[in-house]
Symmetry: C2
Subunit: 242 residues, 2 copies
DNA sequence: ACAAAAGTGTTCAACGTACACCCATGC
DNA sequence: GCATGGGTGTACGTTGAACACTTTTGT
């Protein structure tokens, strides 16, 4: 499927002298995380390509020739979840020669975090739905490797930045927040220390509301102060502000 | 230069159903850092492509159709510096539609760290040489943006991991090490605290040698214990051990 | 009354930071 | 003997970790 794999120049340019005329496909693959029932979930569909038919696959597509990479990711997320302006970040590019059975395809992986209840799945072909990240063993292509990289990325990043909040409802209890951290990081935490740490950031707004329909003393509900957070000085990472 | 930009399917596959037949170029760009005269340096050549002719450019090349991405980077580094087995890491992929004047080219940027004295520059076309990172203002394509991302990456990473040592001679004084950190991070540090911190890692081997030809009391020379470092438990980051 | 989780402070250890003096060498 | 940087220790503040009891609500 690689056509005319001929390179027309060998002069070691500092940059390509022209676009070569062999075909390399560029795709993006989206690891869209959600959180529900105290479990980290990822949105997958079934592959219909041999030899991976019926294996689970990330949501991906070819990047169109006149489309920015981020735009391709936004398009996929929008088409599948109905959501615009989703939090997303490039994680890593995978391009082993034989990673794709139909030819050379290099894929740029992105991680997105969404609230699983504030979206509605669309284009439900190939059994699009949410899967427990912990249960996933095998996947099509090198998608397990990509998922692992994104999960690992999430674990690191959420220890430094309040990313995880995007997985929760806009109003949440500190219990919700702690369970989110405990489940994604895979470790129990001390409730007092956890609360202390979050309050000391000064970015939680007490809504005045309480949980309801809980069979115990209801906890306070908070919102995250995105406005204040936006004004705080942040370190840069790979040229991007957080 | 984009040929036949036609996509043959619109069925939202979880993966590309086949490699599309429009041409997208894939390149790698290498930010090869060195350190000399207390300055961080990067290896650049002049571009000979309009409209960037005579602008400085990173070392890059098209990824060959049967070549892994890492292999392309190794090839470029080897061809330019003569070095094998250089430390390198993928940083980020850049792919704006109009980033390249000759068509759609997506580039995967890598950062490499080498000892500027333990290599010999090869293929010296287009004024290949080392430049002070601090002095670089304008570059060809989006290469300034790539350089900034890699510099920022280096600043972060070297605060967590002893990467920077790869920029020094195999035997170095603590003064060398501190100057390296101060220059790359752009801040003065306390000598006693700096030494304490490095010694507490337990990864410096006293060679028994001393500096010579210095107009003051000579400092001890150390080696880094790569063997012991290799055995220490490390955290994972994007699926890669450090 | 009981079950379940909310809410709350203190102590200790580890770590980072600030800071000043004597020592060895070259000139 | 003087200039230059090498080499060292202590005190303090901040941060993260460990740890238990009272309060509020639903059943």
């Amino acid at each position: 499927m690689v056509k005319n794999p001929v390179i027309h120049n060998n002069h070691f340019p500092g940059e390509p002298a022209h676009v070569p005329d062999f075909t390399v496909g560029i795709s993006v693959d989206c690891v869209i995380f959600g959180f529900e029932d105290n479990k980290l979930k990822v949105l997958l569909i079934k592959s219909d390509m041999q030899p991976y038919k019926d294996h689970w696959s990330l949501l991906g597509d070819i990047v169109k020739p006149d489309e920015d990479i981020d735009a391709a990711v936004s398009r996929i997320v929008k088409d599948r979840t109905g959501l615009n302006d989703v939090y997303m970040e490039q994680v890593r590019t995978f391009g082993e020669v034989n990673r794709h059975p139909k030819g050379r395809v290099i894929t740029i992986s992105y991680c997105s975090l969404i609230n699983i209840r504030h979206n509605e799945l669309k284009i439900l072909d190939n059994e699009l739905h949410w899967h427990d990240v912990q249960e996933i063993k095998e996947m099509a292509f090198d998608h397990k490797q990509i998922l692992d990289a994104c999960y690992n990325w999430l674990q690191y990043r959420m220890q430094e930045h309040p990313l995880g909040l995007r997985l929760l409802e806009t109003e949440f209890s500190l219990r919700d927040l702690q369970l989110l951290y405990e489940n994604i990081l895979g470790e129990k935490m001390d409730r007092r220390n956890f609360r202390k740490k979050f309050f000391s950031m000064g970015l939680l707004i007490d809504t005045g509301e309480l949980e309801n329909n809980v069979p115990h003393r209801p906890g306070k509900l908070y919102k995250f102060d995105y406005e204040k957070y936006g004004k705080t000085k942040k370190k840069k990472w790979l040229g991007i502000d957080f």
